[in-house]
């Protein structure tokens, strides 16, 4: 018997499944933060997390946190360094996988979090943060997005975090996790892998602003196990990050 769960809880589980045991992970905020903790608690106990503010942890934060700089993410850390230290490790090639959120994406996995005129008028977004660095320098990246037609565009207005391009030194987008499904980008272009339970291929096509091939018999994303849900609800007891009303990315 599987308990009911929110789409964001399923996205956290999907994010956790992207982390392999023993990997060095560049952890983002929000859902990836919970995904890292979940992976540690389940299949990847030896994963190590780097945070762009300089924190290195091999255990989840000791209590609920809003940001990576909150005290429970510092206490019990492996090390507390500076931004340039962890970015240097990223540039060296020491980071296996990094997580990035985006406001807009194109079929090559280019992410825009800088500015867009996609809905007619100019909208300024917060900017790169560490996203552009993770996209450039991690061994592979996992992208996390709201799945809406205005966000899935044939071409993004601004490439904040580069996707696949000729001459890329290393890495590039490997997986895209959305509110509707899980997609593979490792071949250089987005391809559906699983759709979340109850989501139809037609629904995904309508929510995607570029042509997307989806097999009619495509598998459903495996739902969270009871253990996975128990972990998430302990780490996010009020559903601050994983309630269905919160916006990701």
């Amino acid at each position: 018997m599987i308990a009911t769960y929110t789409r964001r809880e399923l996205m956290v589980v999907a994010a956790a499944r992207e982390i392999r045991d023993g990997e060095i992970v560049f952890v983002g905020m929000r859902l990836p933060l919970l995904g890292f903790g979940l992976a540690k608690a389940t299949h990847a106990p030896d994963a190590v997390g780097l945070f762009e503010n300089g924190v290195i942890r091999d255990r989840p934060a000791e209590a609920f946190i809003y940001t990576m700089g909150d005290p429970p993410n510092i206490a019990g850390a492996v090390a507390c360094l500076g931004l340039n230290d962890v970015m240097s490790l990223l540039q060296q090639g020491r980071v296996d996988v990094g997580f990035i959120g985006g406001a807009e994406i194109d079929p090559l996995g280019n992410l825009n979090t800088t500015r867009t005129s996609g809905s007619g008028s100019l909208v300024r977004l917060p900017g790169s943060g560490g996203g552009g660095d993770i996209a450039s320098l991690a061994g592979r990246t996992v992208l996390i997005m709201e799945h809406e037609p205005r966000r899935f565009r044939e071409r993004v207005d601004y490439i904040t975090s580069p996707g696949h391009f000729p001459g890329r030194r290393r890495g590039g987008p490997a997986t895209l996790i959305t509110t509707l499904g899980v997609f593979d980008l490792s071949s250089g272009r987005v391809r559906a892998v699983t759709l979340h339970p109850g989501v139809t291929p037609e629904q995904v096509r309508q929510a995607t602003g570029f042509p997307l091939a989806i097999d009619e018999g495509i598998d459903a994303t495996a739902p969270p196990s009871t253990d996975e849900l128990a972990y998430i609800r302990k780490a996010d007891p009020d559903g601050f990050w994983t309630g269905d009303t919160m916006k990701a990315g």
């Binding site: 940001t67 500076g82 909208v123 300024r124 560490g130 552009g132 030194r169």
Partner: protein
């Protein structure tokens, strides 16, 4: 959020940053109004990624005109950027990007404790605090406590800013609120949500500015306005002390 507040108040002509927003909700509405509509004044935006900001400050801290990096290649941040340009590796490796030094006129950094000379102890995530203090023409240290010189000298490895770099040292408990200070203050998340809500309109921002900045003559007034209950909830009373390090000669 601090950037957004300065921009919304009309105090900023140019922003050099990787991310301007609010950790509670993403968008910084003051930044958006200025960038999109020139309200209350037009701003010039120089976009960076976290790492290029870190390298720009590090270069200045090292007394160099620039530092080379691989981050950003293939993205739009570095395309036509006035202070990031392609550079050849003189040793024949792949080409890089040169990030020009940024030398701030003044850096204001908050630490846990310092002596009257400005020798500063800081612990927890360091972010870009040290680079900023080294790079700036003038550095102002604000601290939770001014302590006797002997306290600072008991642990010289924790002195991340030597006093001769410091123009002024200010004892200002709660000076980083609503952000956290390890061992002193928890994050006060409510002001981030409140600011996000209030700053959505220019009128809302003006009311916020009056209540939380203009009508409060100093930090002590801010703490009183927050209320004793809130201040008590945020104060860290627990102790988890680091093991002593033996510096005996």
């Amino acid at each position: 959020m601090a950037f957004d507040q300065l921009i919304a108040a009309g105090n900023v002509a140019k922003v050099i940053a990787a991310w301007v927003g609010n950790v509670a909700g993403g968008s910084g509405y003051g930044f958006r109004r200025a960038y999109e509509q020139g309200v209350p004044r037009r701003i010039v935006m120089e976009d960076h990624s976290n790492f290029t900001v870190g390298l720009a400050l590090k270069a200045a801290a090292m007394g160099l005109p620039y530092l080379p990096t691989f981050t950003g290649i293939g993205g739009d941040i570095v395309r036509g950027h006035p202070h990031i340009r392609p550079v050849d590796d003189p040793f024949g490796g792949p080409s890089l990007l040169a990030v020009a030094a940024v030398k701030p006129d003044v850096a204001i950094v908050h630490v846990q404790r310092a002596d009257v000379q400005g020798n500063a102890h800081l612990w927890g995530n360091l972010g870009l605090t040290v680079e900023a203090a080294y790079a700036a023409r003038r550095t102002i240290v604000t601290c939770e406590e001014i302590v006797p010189e002997a306290v600072i000298r008991s642990d010289p490895n924790r002195t991340v800013i030597p006093g001769f770099l410091v123009t002024a040292v200010v004892e200002e408990p709660g000076g980083a609120l609503p952000s956290s200070v390890q061992g002193y203050w928890r994050r006060d998340f409510e002001p981030f949500l409140r600011y996000h809500r209030d700053s959505r309109t220019l009128d809302g921002f003006q009311a916020w500015l009056r209540e939380w900045v203009l009508d409060l003559p100093d930090r002590q007034a801010y703490l009183r306005h927050m209320g004793d209950a809130a201040a008590e909830r945020l104060r860290v009373r627990d102790r988890r002390l680091a093991a002593a390090a033996n510096f005996a000669p």
